[in-house]
């Protein structure tokens, strides 16, 4: 298994600003994932972040809006840029130890409210 922490746990931001969310894993992992969970909804994959390569974004998500860094095998950041109230969600990072379609281990999430 893997233990994942996220910072911040929650934040309230003004529209037009940006927020960077950090994800730290207690072991080295190749694949990290960023999800968005809008209020009352399921998880939607934003992007897959592999160390040493550019993040792979899912349809509907673009790098300018959600830039991702993956500087090493235990850490990643997701930035939510130029925020609007529609960005109010829980943002979750996860890792997989055996391939992206296998068991994923999740961080506690970051609750974002944009006013």
């Amino acid at each position: 298994s893997a233990v994942i922490s996220q910072k911040p746990s929650r934040d309230i931001c003004q529209r037009g600003t940006s927020l960077t969310i950090q994800c730290q894993v207690d072991s080295q992992v190749t694949m990290m994932f960023w999800y968005r969970q809008q209020p009352g909804q399921s998880l939607t994959l934003i992007a897959t972040a592999n160390q040493g390569s550019e993040a792979t974004y899912e349809s509907g998500f673009v790098i300018d809006k959600f830039p991702i860094s993956r500087p090493n095998l235990t850490f990643s950041t997701l930035t939510v840029s130029n925020m609007s109230p529609e960005d109010s969600s829980i943002y979750l990072c996860s890792v997989s130890l055996a391939g992206g379609r296998e068991t994923q281990y999740f961080g506690p999430g970051t609750r974002l409210l944009v006013l």
Binding site: I4, M31, F33, Q37, Q41, S42, L43, T44, L45, T48, T56, I90, L92, S94, G99, G100, R101, E102, T103, Q104, Y105, F106, G107, P108, G109, R111
Partner: protein
């Protein structure tokens, strides 16, 4: 796009009763997973069942998989108030090695 659909969307039962949640999917899978989420926090992996398996147990959890019907069920026996949470199925596709797709989830309330 979401591959899985779950029903019911919401389920309320008395403590001690069994809870059954269902998940249907559309395309061929390598595996199907169930996760629990308490009060909007991170998800916890419960169980993974592979496409060549039909049933799997873990403690009070029993998962079945019917690939001919493209459906799975999660049974929680002798439910407890602490089982109150949202439950999501997620499918690992045969055609994609690098991600899973989550269903919409079932919200379970266990009344003491």
């Amino acid at each position: 796009s979401q591959q899985g659909e779950e029903d019911p969307q919401a389920l309320s039962i008395q403590e001690g009763e069994n809870a059954t949640m269902n998940c249907s999917y559309k395309t061929s899978i390598n595996n199907l997973q169930w996760y629990r989420q308490n009060s909007g926090r991170g998800l916890v992996h419960l169980i993974l069942i592979r496409s060549n398996e039909r049933e799997k147990h873990s403690g009070r959890l029993r998962v079945t998989l019917d690939t001919s019907k493209k459906s799975s069920s999660l049974l929680i026996t002798a439910s407890r108030a602490a089982d109150t949470a949202s439950y999501f199925c997620a499918t690992g596709l045969k055609t994609s090695y690098d991600k899973v797709i989550f269903g919409p989830g079932t919200s379970l309330s266990v009344i003491p």
